[in-house]
């Protein structure tokens, strides 16, 4: 029987264009997380860094050792965890394992990425290196997959194009209340529907931006958490699963196998189902992904997720608020940070510390998608 794992603190930096290297961003979030958790550097036993590509973006590696140094955590064990765009949740899974296994009684997880100093082509090249070389050589990048999948979804389920725009509108609206979000501005349907085409039928406002930022969470066994705080959050379910690395080999690209499998694992471990979830952060790197995750996680029947954006169920005041943080869409998507920041938003909501974004929630879920669903991690958290 493994340890029950708690989260006793969290933080995130301002997301956006930051005049700081990833090392500085990691230190900023890490320091704030130590403060928030009331944990001293000496008490940290493991420090995990979620980061996809500091070497490719900045020519700097070894950033997990640098972080241990910068925060005075030595001799805490450090490692970097990479699961492409889901590196953040892979870090949550790794930190959970470190505590659940008894290897560490206090694990600091910091996710971060510095991207905006590259131009869009430069960032796209790093991100496209995720994909299968046989697909990539045909020019198929993640936005292309998103466009083709969106077209298929809209056709197959007779969904209006506007429903995708409404995902962006909702998440931008939520982002207005998140001072850490890259964008704090509402957009209207005309702006979304008339923005430049990127990968038909998807337009500029269907895509998350390129972002710098970092986020952190502090993990420990529940019995240790009791020494630090009356209120904390328990990681009650976590699961991860791969799908084909070659996207065109999937029977039905509108079903993300990794979402389905990781969700089932997390639900089973937590002993909960989709109806028990009060708030969720989904990986809206592209608007269409919010629908695919809603369906894969059984928040909506197949082909019906788009109806819930139309009827307001996923709005902040709806029955199942999704992406109260603003999502990747308006909060931004610094690759290694995003999954940690999703976890931080759920943590804040369950702790009642989400300020103007606060919803009524005891149980939350985060879903972080790597590649184009090549690997997905789902996490369920509950207030203690």
């Amino acid at each position: 029987m493994s340890n029950q794992v708690a989260i006793i603190g969290g933080s995130m930096t301002k997301f956006g264009e930051r005049d700081a290297w990833v090392r500085e961003l990691l230190a900023e979030a890490g320091e704030a997380c130590l403060d928030d958790a009331g944990v001293t550097p000496d008490d940290v036993e493991h420090v995990y860094v979620s980061n996809m590509a500091s070497g490719e973006f900045e020519g700097q590696t070894g950033i997990m050792n640098a972080l241990a140094h910068d925060l005075g955590l030595m001799p805490a064990y450090s490692q970097r965890i990479d699961q492409t765009s889901s590196s953040g949740a892979a870090g949550i899974y790794g930190a959970w394992q470190s505590v659940a296994s008894g290897a560490s009684d206090m694990t600091l997880l910091v996710g971060g990425e510095k991207m905006t100093h590259k131009d869009t082509a430069g960032s796209t090249e790093v991100i496209a290196s995720i994909t299968h070389p046989e697909e990539y050589k045909h020019g198929v990048t993640l936005p292309s997959f998103a466009g083709m999948t969106a077209r298929l979804y809209l056709d197959k389920y007779d969904a209006p194009r506007e429903s995708l725009a409404k995902v962006a509108i909702k998440n931008h609206k939520n982002g207005v209340d998140n001072p850490k979000a890259q964008f704090q501005k509402e957009i209207d349907i005309e702006t979304a529907m008339e923005s430049p085409i990127i990968a038909d039928p998807l337009r500029l406002y269907d895509f998350c931006p390129v972002t710098d930022g970092s986020a952190a969470l502090m993990f420990c066994p529940v019995d240790v958490a009791e020494e630090y705080a009356d209120d904390y959050v328990v990681v009650s379910g976590v699961g991860g699963a791969t799908d084909t690395h070659v996207v065109h080999e999937r029977d039905d690209p509108t079903t993300m196998g990794g979402v389905v499998e990781s969700g089932q694992e997390a639900y089973e471990m937590a002993g909960l189902g989709p109806d028990d979830i009060d708030v969720a952060e989904l990986h809206d790197m592209f608007t269409i992904l919010e629908f695919l995750q809603m369906e894969g996680l059984d928040f909506a029947d197949e082909g019906e997720a788009w109806k819930h954006i139309e009827d307001g169920r996923t709005e902040k005041d709806g029955e199942l608020p999704i992406n109260t943080s603003g999502g990747l869409k308006s909060k931004g998507h610094p690759l290694g940070a995003s999954g940690v920041a999703q976890g931080y938003e759920i943590y804040e909501q369950l702790m009642g510390e989400a300020g103007p974004r606060q919803v009524d929630a005891d149980t939350g879920l985060a879903c972080n998608v790597g590649g184009f669903g090549n690997c997905v991690i789902t996490t369920i958290m509950e207030a203690n």
Copy 2:
């Protein structure tokens, strides 16, 4: 109480210059490990890839997803673990955590790196990106640290320069019996002592080569191991620790704090001490490191490790054989693979499958050094 963790299979590819990309090398070792363990792809629940820099070396990321795909392991969860030159042992620690925590009942770990297609300057640039930028800008790379540390050690302990050469000679001699080693040739003291100076007093034969290769191990709970095999190996101790990221901040560079701390953790967890170890694989990226690890792990008193190479104690037929595999020195050092390959040698020795390299051993230890001791992982294994 966490699960007791067993290793039920292992493999490594031929190390050296390989006409294959890291993705192919990972698949080669992974496939061989499945065969060796008698495990079918469906039974694998987690797949961890130890790799430092496939993006920097090959412009290809997402290799953990590619491996899950190539071996037909979907929907097994995948992630990449990086701890620079100790990525391999970080993978062992990660795989141990995945099984000990109950997250996975069957974890395939594959470490690999493809390096030789870069020239020496290109490889050095990738590796040097590990170091602190404030040190790196002065031209201090890992070989420079090794040279300065070797000089300090020789002066401080009045050790003969030849003792370092004898580490290389021993490990080359052991490598002759390892068909997977990059070099299978003995060297004599003149060759070592008269080879070109790289970082005074260290010469060419004090350094490991640049290498392509991959190695794999299969982890599961002990009760699951019983279903697969009568004989297996138990990971009875594992510990990891950081030291300063800035090497010049260390009080005494001839003591590697990460070695000492990770060793103590591993010994404590296993309930064993240095006298209980029958065979060890140490991280001889530079000959001087074998001495520093022997002392840090209490195989020798401070300043006396060099005497044991002189008196033959660490030879294959000595009291404590070190680097029976040939070590990084003659086996080669494909960064992400090396720690896994160290574990594989210990596994082979404890299983009695080391052929002409076989020594009498029930308990073994591996020590994998990241950076210049910036993070170190020590693992202890025992025959069941």
